[in-house]
Amino acid sequence: MASAPTSKYNSHSLENESIKRGTFFILIDKEVIYICPFNGPIKGRVYITNYRLYLRSLETDSALILDVPLGVISRIEKMGGATSRGENSYGLDITCKDMRNLRFALKQEGHSRRDMFEILTRYAFPLAHSLPIFAFLNEEKFNVDGWTVYNPVEEYRRQGLPNHHWRITFINKCYELCDTYPALLVVPYRASDDDLRRVATFRSRNRIPVLSWIHPENKTVIVRCSQPLVGMSGKRNKDDEKYLDVIRETNRQISKLTIYDARPNVNAVANKATGGGYESDDAYHNAELFFLDIHNIHVMRESLKKVKDIVYPNVEESHWLSSLESTHWLEHIKLVLTGAIQVADRVSSGKSSVLVHCSDGWDRTAQLTSLAMLMLDSFYRSIEGFEILVQKEWISFGHKFASRIGHGDKNHADADRSPIFLQFIDCVWQMSKQFPTAFEFNERFLITILDHLYSCRFGTFLYNCESAREKQKVTERTVSLWSLINSNKDKFKNPFYTKEINRVLYPVASMRHLELWVNYYIRWNPRIKQQQPNPVEQRYVELLALRDEYIQRLEELQLASSAKLPDPSTSPAGPSQMMPHVRTHF
């Protein structure tokens, strides 16, 4: 069977790529047994480079190819010992970040797995060995530069900023106000830089409320920040209170500012013990606070773990739906989407400006603001718009990609790791399922983003914040994922895309519509894999080709018939009349 766990979207042969990129060097080249969880043991030849593990089946009846970027590996364990009994009991067990495990068996004699183990450990976890992450070695060239996709000034200008109420400030140019925020921030016109500094003292990690998005018509805004440092004693800060009031007043019609605290109420209360908390009614008269009940990174990590348990290697068949329910994954997706819908609805209906925060404002907050913006602003539903959205709300605002993913880090059990960004992409996928014509990109685009979230081939998702990226000169020394995507956009386009301006997209955040993203979470299982490419999309593309073919042939026929007729103007159906007629159809 040809369909084994091969990386679908990365299937160039190893050789081609090594020629393309001068930085490849093969470190291991040996025969192993790949213990395929679906088809049993397969003898293959494994090549390990500083970027990937590549295995080709040596068996005639199997066309299996494994192609795994080392960045995907979260854990490498030795399986069995030199004296273990049983067939294929000695080897390596590899846990991956992308919902699969790999198991290789080797010959028991002569420490045959030692070099493989050492090389893999070295290059999968370069940080522990003082080695650079592969992205810094990657010399791929693309004809577009993905680093130019996001320019904050341009993006704010697109939003109509600055305006009478909002200004762009460079107070954080050297990351002195807040080291996890971007250099460029949009703040109320009436708040001075000194005000901002004072507010920063009252917000966790100095992440002050700043503008994410402004409604082009009613001028309500989405503002993001971290929790206020209320603490057990219920501290207040006049500057913070005043600042929120200034934000509220940027939109004159409204009497209250809506605050969405992404956390469950109890968590927000519990955060007081560590100095955090939430905006109380007493202190913030002109604000209404709602909790959105979204759980923290640890709950999400455990939930995804349970998803893996029921889909890999075997899909829990006898009680699929209740097993799925017990992972709570879709329930979390539902809560995130519901929260984003509420944010979007507030803003879109012009009811009030919205302030969103969780604890530090870099996980749940990023999910909520970016999803709400995706619902409100059709620009973000285009390929480049989405790249800008990710670049802005996630990368520049300090979602801790390095900690959440653990790039090049061997500490697989790090409590900081969590699939928050994956969850966001899942939410986007759910929306694209409900609105098949609303997004310029297809499922493959989303899967490619996730693949390179882990792969370390691009610099896009490296490091925790902009200041760290700047220090490492990431944009100069690495390639952007958007270079890969934008240089071959057609592959990532949704043929059904219908560009619609100003349409707010409200998905139905109901369990009746949310689905497990089978093509991502269960993609390694050849028995579950759904048809690729999507037959509906494929048919559409075929029809497009057919249309072009027909038009061409029609033109040829018309040319031919016009050649026969010496004077086309005398003929009622001469090409001069017919051509425009046919064309008006399209």
Partner: protein
């Protein structure tokens, strides 16, 4: 028995003439009689507010209940209308339960037939079989009239006799008017009914079956009243033998041929042999005969459906739970446990079981080249589903609209599926079971998995399901063809209708879709993804026409001697499988094992490893992740579940526009080739698409589209919340009366 419609209501009105124009518009059906009516009725639209409620007149006729209003439907911006029904109407046969309520006295009562009602109802709630729930309030209407209408609805929706169903009245009148046959609307000539010898004969020839013949021993239903007059049997069994054997079968339902594979394997269905002494002998004779009819004399594979599949009671119980979950229970409260609740209904599990079992039989027929005999107690319930699914998977002809309809005629209507009892048209609930829906649901799963393999759309399947509950048509009204003949003959005699040579009255057929929908609305039945055989397609960049392969079944093969093709084992690997249209370079599959014993598992694995040939066999994925809930069918009346401007229909819309464009171009090209210079004047009526390219239309998604399209949940229970997020408060008001189980049956 006196099969005469009695109209015991003083206020009887006859149409036409006396009624207003508005009412006439709503009663297009000939012979429809208004039984009772009440004015100043409020139809509830939302549960939390009365601002959207509509005022009008509630009418009970002998066919349906109607609500006639001059108020426009709020939030409704498209028109997809059943010609027989107004947008607020419910056919009487679609009514499941009638609940009357008096707020002031805090009394509620479920109304059965011929029951008394001791209070004047302030509210009437109709629970429909199609998952709708409609609610009327009588605050401003005359209390006595309201009560009478409620009682009339209860009476007419729960008739005591088959001949009281509207179809009889309707068809009787037609005969009276025209004085004979042919009066009833032009039935769709393309769909064979399998009522005649020739239909069966053509089917034998179409499939290339040799060794099978049409048998007419049941002419006049002399042998069995639950078999069709003509059916197909092994050629080696003589009529005389069959007559003798028939006594041993339950219901005298001897083996019936369903279909033959091009490799000669046949699909056969039969009842159990009840005669224990004769069992072995007869079984042996039958099997030998089937073996003889096989060109390779292959063995017979028997599948005992009663032992392997859920029974009709279990299926009914699953359906009741599914319905309860989908519509009766408050939306928000079922959210948290939705997945496990859905699992607990077992509906999807049963759909999977039928798909899986049918796929296994496909393996037996196609790969092991064995004939398959479906065995079931009476052979007229589970067999209908399995026989149909096997044929849908194996034969692309049954994936066309005409083919699918002929399949339903062949394996359901003529095979004696007890529509009357299973649909429970007479409300004797103990025999009810939604096997036909389960078949449509399983077909939908295949359509969902192979969206380009079917000529029809999911709208077609949903509309077909709805048509089982419109008692105008004869198609889904009877337990057997014989019952139609017997009952309608009795009826004809009692009404002095001259039948002449005809066997019973000819009822309108569901397949005559023009009775229900305009030509434009019928185009929604067409799947824009479907690639018809004659349609040119792209192959490796160039346009080619499909070539028929030996393995394809088509009506044009009719008339060719069966023996020419039969028995030829076509090597499956000689026929490249097509993934839709584009041939993909795939590594060579492992050579097929020469032994016939390789398991079903391996067969499936190999099949799934190749791209599917949409004009060949299609097999379902049956894992829990693949078998899904048919949302259009079950959620279309649930406002909170609608995705406004979303759902698959939005992609369908885009596809239709493109397919329409391609069709138009293709017509122009054809005209060019035909030498006509008058090109490009193909009228819009020629289009097979509902959504068409037009100069003035904006390219975006039309704003009336929602995931429920073409159905509209407006007017059913409640409206969606403004933000798009379903909020429980919209249902809190409804909870009080939503659960019928809490209703006390007071008198």
């Amino acid at each position: 028995m006196t099969p005469i419609i009695t109209v015991p209501w003083d206020e009887e009105h006859k149409l036409p003439g006396l009624q207003s124009q508005a009412i006439k518009r709503c009663f297009p059906v000939d012979r429809e009689i208004v039984v009772n009516e009440v004015s100043f009725v409020r139809k509830c639209i939302a549960t939390d507010t009365s601002q959207y409620d509509l005022w009008g007149k509630l009418i009970c006729s002998n066919f349906k209940i109607s609500f006639i209003t001059d108020d426009p439907m709020p939030l409704q911006r498209f028109h997809y209308r059943n010609l027989l029904l107004g947008e607020h109407d419910v056919p009487l046969t679609c009514i499941e339960q009638i609940v009357t309520v008096n707020d002031h006295k805090r009394k509620q009562k479920v109304l059965g037939p011929n029951q008394k009602l001791k209070f004047n109802p302030t509210e009437l709630i109709i629970y429909c079989k199609d998952f709708r729930i409609v609610r009327f309030r009588f605050d401003e209407s005359g209390p006595e009239s309201a009560k009478k209408v409620c009682l009339a609805i209860a009476h007419y929706s729960q008739p005591t006799d088959l001949q009281l169903l509207f179809a009889f009245e309707y068809v009787g009148k037609k005969y009276h008017n025209s004085g004979g046959s042919g009066a009833v609307g032009g039935s769709n000539q393309k769909t064979p009914f399998f009522e005649t010898y020739s239909d069966w004969d053509r089917e034998i020839k179409r499939t290339g079956a040799s060794g099978w013949r049409v048998c007419s021993i049941n002419e006049g239903y002399m042998i069995s009243t639950c078999l069709p007059e003509y059916f197909v049997v092994p050629s080696s069994l003589a009529d005389q033998d069959l007559k003798i054997f028939s006594h041993s079968f339950v219901g005298r339902r001897m083996p019936l041929w369903c279909w033959s594979h091009s490799n000669g394997s046949a699909l056969v269905r039969m009842a159990l042999i009840k005669d224990v002494l004769q069992q072995r002998k007869i079984d042996q004779r039958i099997c030998n005969a089937i073996t003889k009819s096989h060109p390779q004399r292959s063995d017979v594979y028997k599948s005992d459906l009663d032992k392997t599949l859920p029974n009709i009671q279990e299926i009914q119980a699953a359906f009741v739970k599914l319905k309860q979950l989908c519509v009766n229970e408050p939306f928000e409260e079922t959210e948290e446990k939705w997945l496990s609740s859905l699992e607990n209904t077992r509906w999807l599990e049963y759909v999977r079981a039928f798909l899986k079992h049918s796929a296994e039989l496909v393996y037996i027929l196609e790969s092991r080249h064995l004939s398959v005999v479906l065995q079931e107690e009476e052979g007229r319930d589970l067999s209908c589903i399995v026989a149909s699914l096997v044929q849908v998977m194996l034969d692309p002809h049954f994936r066309t609209i005409t083919g699918f309809q002929s399949l339903i005629q062949k394996e359901w209507v003529m095979a004696g599926y007890q529509f009357l009892d299973r649909c429970n048209h007479l409300k004797r609930s103990e025999k009810e079971s939604p096997l036909f829906l389960l078949f449509l649901d399983a077909t939908w799963q295949l359509l969902e998995q192979y969206p380009a393999a079917f000529e029809f759309s999911e709208t077609y399947l949903a509309v077909l399901y709805d048509s089982t509950r419109i008692s105008l048509f004869g198609t889904f009204l009877f337990n057997s063809p014989h019952q139609r003949v017997k009952q309608s003959t009795e009826f004809a005699i009692s009404k002095n209708i001259q039948l002449g040579d005809e066997k019973g009255l000819k009822f309108p057929s569901v397949w005559d879709w023009s009775l229900q929908f305009t030509a434009k609305d019928r185009t929604l039945f067409h799947n824009p993804l479907y690639i018809g055989k004659s349609t040119p397609c792209i192959q490796n960049g160039s346009v080619k026409s499909f070539k028929r392969t030996k393995k394809s079944y088509s009506s044009t093969l009719r008339g060719m001697p069966g023996s020419l093709r039969n028995g030829i084992i076509s090597d499956p690997d000689l026929v490249p499988r097509r993934n839709s249209l584009i041939l993909k370079a795939k590594p060579d599959p492992p050579p097929p094992p020469t032994s016939q014993d390789h398991g079903a598992e391996q067969y499936f694995r190999e099949w799934f490893s190749k791209p599917a040939d949409l004009h060949g066999v299609i097999l379902p994925h049956v894992s829990g992740t693949h078998v899904k809930l048919w949302k259009l069918c079950y959620f279309r009346w649930v406002p909170e579940a609608q995705i406004h401007l979303g759902g698959f229909i939005t992609a369908f819309h885009k596809l239709s526009l493109l397919a329409d464009e391609v069709d138009a171009l293709s017509r122009t090209l054809r005209q060019h080739r035909a030498g006509s210079l008058d090109a490009g004047h193909a009228g819009p009526d020629e289009s097979r698409m509902y959504f068409r390219v037009s100069a003035h239309a904006t390219p975006g998604t039309p704003d009336f589209l929602s995931s429920a399209f073409p159905f509209s949940p407006v007017g059913n229970l409640c409206r969606r919340s403004i933000s798009g997020t379903p909020l429980s408060k919209f249902l809190s008001g409804a909870k009080i009366w939503l659960s019928t189980e809490t209703l006390a049956n007071e008198d």
